[in-house]
Symmetry: C2
Subunit: 201 residues, 2 copies
DNA sequence: AACTATACGGAAAGGCTTTCCGGAAAAGCA
DNA sequence: TGCTTTTCCGGAAAGCCTTTCCGTATAGTT
């Protein structure tokens, strides 16, 4: 049996509450890492991040024992943000539009965050749980959008949420020297295929 | 023995031929690197490779000044092998079968060689030329197979060789924790779309 | 065989991640 | 509050890898 509580956090249950400065430092580190990864790249030296966060290296490595743990945490956080966007969109747009907008948001995430593609393909076991996490968080989000759009007749689902998620994630992973719109174009092809109407035969 | 130096009117950039031991060592290094990358991964220490090749580190770095250069060379070599497979297949199979078999070969290459995906997404400028190389080498190969299959009426092209190449390369890039056949399945979907007429069975 | 340009090997340099530990600060307790 | 305990911090140092350097060895030439 497993409790159905979201186990997103790594350190939820502790005999004593985490010290506030520790939590604050973790926050600073995640924020700094997100910034540095975005500007310099995921291969940026750790010192760059600790300097920006205003902490020592020791602090970083206490909370994220391996470099990969930091990267993973940053990515998971972005995945969470992506998931959180779904209900908001569903509440403010027609189902079909909400679906399209959310896929756009997801596409932007994958295309922009090169670190995501790097982590996914690095082969480092530390990242093994990432696809699962993505599926677990984003699968239901997409599923509900897809369901709503299907119910309203705007879309006919021909692909599972999981397959769609993976396919988009892969197609949008940035490649050097490719026209900037390639990923978007491919995804558009995929999404067009979902539109109700005649299948492409 | 003929002295083929000093061609009149043409400036020869290579004043002397490369020493045979040098060429032999380069060969050993490429072979060893291919093996080690395949077993340990592309992040394997250089020493592992030089030991297997039976040379010193200095030798490696003379021929491949940066680690990335070695990786690039190994990948280019595999791309070449893939390109070379096309004429052989075309000569021994029906056009449609040849196309399918070659795509299978290409899929295997992308799916098996994790180093390829890593390099492609690393963001290291050293790999910027790789997609171009792939296109240049494999584009014509696929193009001719596609053309032959189209001419024989077995396939109706709906996608350019370039787009197909990239799409397959991306879809097949291995992801952790995904069913081993995911990439193949996605590609099959794509290829079925190319078949003229009704879907099989 | 002698000579010279090339290439070799491995030690050392340089950089980045990760470990370690003495000191500082927060939380718990009277 | 003042004191004790526990947790956390910072940066120096260790460890591992890539990359450089240079004296030595050798293929190719005459």
């Amino acid at each position: 049996m497993s409790d159905n509580r979201a186990d997103s956090g790594v350190r939820d249950r502790a005999p004593r509450r985490m010290r506030t400065d520790a939590r604050r430092n973790i926050e600073s580190l995640l924020e700094a890492a997100k910034t540095v990864f975005g500007t310099v790249g995921v291969d940026a030296p750790a010192k760059e991040i600790t300097d920006l966060a205003g902490v020592g290296v020791g602090t970083l490595y206490r909370h994220f024992p391996q470099r990969a743990d930091l990267i993973k945490a940053v990515i998971e956080r972005e995945i969470d943000a992506c998931a959180d966007a779904a209900p908001a969109l569903a509440a403010t747009h027609e189902p079909g539009v909400a679906l399209a907008k959310w896929l756009d948001r997801f596409t932007a995430f994958v295309a922009t965050k090169r670190g995501f593609a790097v982590a996914l393909h690095s082969g480092d076991p530390a990242f093994d749980g990432l696809p699962g996490y993505l599926l677990q968080k984003l699968g239901p989000a997409l599923e509900s959008l897809l369901k709503a759009a299907t119910a309203s007749g705007e879309v006919r689902a021909r692909i599972s949420a999981q397959d769609l998620l993976y396919a988009v994630a892969k197609l949008c992973a940035p490649m050097p020297d490719e026209e900037p719109d390639y990923g978007r174009r491919m995804v558009a092809l995929l999404v067009d295929g979902l539109r109700s109407g005649e299948p492409p035969h």
